[in-house]
Symmetry: C2
Subunit: 218 residues, 2 copies
DNA sequence: TATAATCCGTTGTTTTTCCAACATACTTTT
DNA sequence: AAAAGTATGTTGGAAAAACAACGGATTATA
């Protein structure tokens, strides 16, 4: 257990919480550690969620099957990240699965206990709540930005919206993006090759320059 | 002040908080009431946000101007709803404005105070945090669902994804939707008339039936 | 280093969407 | 009930995106 805490003590969720407090936190939040083999289901569609997860080791993917049975990957969970937190707080049945991409270890924490601190109002509780609010709010802002891009009607506008948002975030006309072309196309909800063609056009029109992950707004 | 509290005491944020506790809460969270004339700016782009708002009276709209200066309405805020809460918890400068559509009254609450309860750990704090987590998580789930719809490549798929999500939520093949055609088109990010045409096609193909706000999946 | 695998851009064709304009139905007002 | 306003459906042409297929470049691997 101590070993697991060591791996996640500098996660965003546990930020600014003293190491000495971590183990008492585990008890308070009914921390449970579970191990999963590659390919195993960590959370399955339709099951009610009362705890959220903090990945201590391995890699997970959040997938969703639509009305036709088509699989789509919603996100990849890396160590120190939390998942299923939104569904733990709204009492809705999630419509997605979480699967282990490699052998993984997850620390589950009780969402009810987190938001209803114990009698003695331990100091770490304040910080935990603050961190959780930050994480969820941040996700919220990111989702809103993605929607802002996707809502544009043309691929050209989607690209320019994305790039100008990045430009603001990176506070520069020259930016580096985290996605490869396929990843960017998925993010914007368009087809890769069509997007590539559109990028070329933007370059020819003298609106942007780019090379691999580097982009410049002119 | 008492008058204002009366109007919002059954909002989601203040759910399950005793009326007697509300006024002490106001002090603790540094509650400030502000009035706005129709057309006035409630929050302006680029200004740092330390407090979030709870609309007690009137109507607000959240608008955004993109890189070309085009205005788009992100959401309409009705009484008892909160706004700007996500931006209050991530330390990001918001890229949107909030404007008063009619004369409005807003109660601003200190986001820091909410997540860092006072010494005596008042009982309402627990409930407030719980409620806030619920609201933000809920928004999160809704945004994710919208993205799920928008990510589909064709209008037909967007419609069917939306309808089947509603079908699950309303637990029936027959559903009533909250949007009119223009609203639904905006939600899905497509053009209204093209969407209408697609709906007709789906009806002809025997995949759905509909009449005004009523839809049935076959 | 050779080979395989992956990523990225290009092109032509097919499909879908947008857009504008108009017709019809429904609602609200007077 | 007439008139005006609003919401929805329809259509055809223009624009854009998807799709498939391919070639060159880069990266990973044997």
């Amino acid at each position: 257990m101590i070993n697991e805490l060591e791996k996640i003590k500098d996660s965003v969720l546990l930020q600014d919480i003293k190491v000495e407090e971590l183990s008492s936190m585990l008890g308070c939040l009914r921390g449970v550690i579970k191990h999963y083999k590659k390919g195993e289901e960590v959370l399955s569609q339709g099951a009610e969620i009362k705890k959220f997860g903090l990945l201590t080791e391995g890699k997970l993917q959040v997938v969703q099957y639509d009305y036709l049975g088509n699989k789509s990957i919603l996100s990849i969970i890396e160590p120190k990240q939390i998942f299923a937190e939104a569904y733990a707080y709204v009492n809705k049945i999630p419509s997605m699965n979480v699967e282990a991409l490699v052998d993984s270890t997850v620390l589950f924490l009780d969402s009810d206990k987190l938001s209803s601190p114990c009698q003695n109002c331990c100091s770490f509780h304040k910080q935990l709540v603050k961190n959780l609010l930050f994480i969820i709010s941040n996700k919220n802002v990111n989702l809103t930005e993605k929607i802002e891009c996707m809502a544009k009607r043309t691929t050209k506008e989607k690209l320019l919206t994305f790039l100008s948002l990045e430009s603001i975030k990176q506070n520069s006309k020259e930016i580096y993006i985290q996605y490869d072309r396929q990843g960017l196309a998925d993010y914007l909800g368009v087809e890769r090759s069509a997007m590539s063609a559109e990028l070329s056009k933007l370059k020819n029109e003298g609106i942007i320059e780019y090379n691999k992950n580097w982009f410049k707004l002119l």
